[in-house]
């Protein structure tokens, strides 16, 4: 009988069967074995092989399985109005702030700058793929996940969303509010989904609507230096009062 392991994201259980026993190590403390025969997600050898083919040669097969599981996990969570979102999520003054951008754009750099400049002020929630949750009252919450990126920094914390900062590398430091028509195309690619079904598309759009209708979003064009981080921090604090991101 196959061994089944369960993780919980935003309080919702997801049961896995792993092809490779070493895949479990990447989940760290997130998994516990469970009884029974039913599971929610299991990769096929072909799916893992396809994922591996798109990764650097040095990556082992079990890491490819771990990476493959991101998409089906996120699509599974959409039924609970939750979704993995590509961002660094950190806690500041009781709220979760999302630094989002394509990989290699400086999300972690901005987090590390802030932590260096204002020690003890912020805490990492999730370093790569936090779980966003749309609640019945329309609020959006941010939860940690085991997918914490190459730095592997994360925690088990959750917090209501404060706001979203879209990062873009540039030759100057500049920040401004992101309007909805700019934000929509930029954010679509940051939600993790195959977008295979109408239900999945509608669930992602409902989450995006919650994010953009109730919480501010900015675009930070930046050099990745300390000054850009101070600019971001001061503008967020000024425009939100620092501890209440709702608009």
């Amino acid at each position: 009988m196959e061994k089944i392991y369960q993780a919980e994201y935003a309080g919702h259980p997801v049961r896995y069967v792993f092809l490779n026993p070493f895949t479990r190590q990447h989940f760290k403390f997130w998994l516990k074995p469970v009884e029974g025969e039913e599971y929610d997600i299991k990769a096929t050898p072909e799916q893992v092989a396809r994922t591996l083919a798109h990764m650097p040669e040095t990556n082992p097969e079990y890491y490819a399985e771990y990476k493959f599981l991101i998409l089906p996990t996120s699509d599974y969570l959409l039924r609970y109005r939750c979704c993995l979102f590509h961002a660094v999520a950190f806690l500041w003054r009781g709220r979760a702030w999302l630094l989002t951008a394509p990989s290699g754009t400086g999300k972690t750099t901005q987090f590390l700058n802030w932590r260096k400049l204002h020690p003890g002020e912020i805490t990492m929630i999730c370093g790569d793929l936090p779980v966003l949750e749309l609640r019945d009252d329309g609020s959006v919450w941010v939860h940690s996940s085991n997918w914490n990126g190459k730095e592997g920094v994360g925690s088990f914390q959750s917090a209501p969303l404060g706001g979203t900062i879209l990062l873009e590398q540039g030759g100057v430091n500049r920040i401004g509010r992101l309007n909805v028509s700019e934000a929509i195309p930029a954010l679509f690619g940051q939600f993790i989904s195959e977008y295979e079904t109408e239900d999945q598309i509608r669930a992602v759009c409902a989450l995006m609507d919650g994010m953009l209708s109730r919480y501010p979003a900015w675009k930070l064009v930046n050099l990745g230096d300390d000054a850009s981080t101070e600019l971001m921090r001061s503008v967020i604090a000024e425009e939100t009062g620092g501890n209440d991101g709702t608009v």
Binding site: V180, I184, E194, Y195, T197, E198, C205, D209, L212
Partner: protein, 102 residues
């Protein structure tokens, strides 16, 4: 006038008041992933989804937007259909015969 229907897998949705057409994964390479459309296009899309023919579409536009001039109504519809066709959001649903705007 040729008849069209909305392509299965294209979803009309609204985010913060912005109307979007979002294509499911199976349509990648055929249709754009996300397109922002205006409110009148969203109105026409909803009518097409419910199987409206050309005459009904014209009547619906006249009533919704209180446009009396039939040429103006037709031009709005033709422009919408052309735009949607170019992006492969529509599928042919056969030919209409004997309609006023053939």
């Amino acid at each position: 006038m040729e008849r069209y229907k909305t392509r299965a897998g294209v979803v009309l949705t609204c985010v913060c008041g912005e109307w979007l057409l979002v294509s499911a994964a199976a349509l990648r390479g055929l249709c754009p992933f996300v397109t922002v459309i205006n409110e009148s296009s969203a109105f026409l899309w909803k009518r097409l989804q419910s199987g409206t023919d050309a005459e009904e579409l014209e009547r619906a536009v006249r009533e919704e937007y209180e446009i009396e001039d039939p040429e103006t109504v037709r031009s709005v519809i033709v422009a919408f259909l052309q735009q949607m066709r170019e992006m492969n959001y529509l599928e042919e649903a056969g030919k209409e015969t004997g309609k006023a705007n053939d």
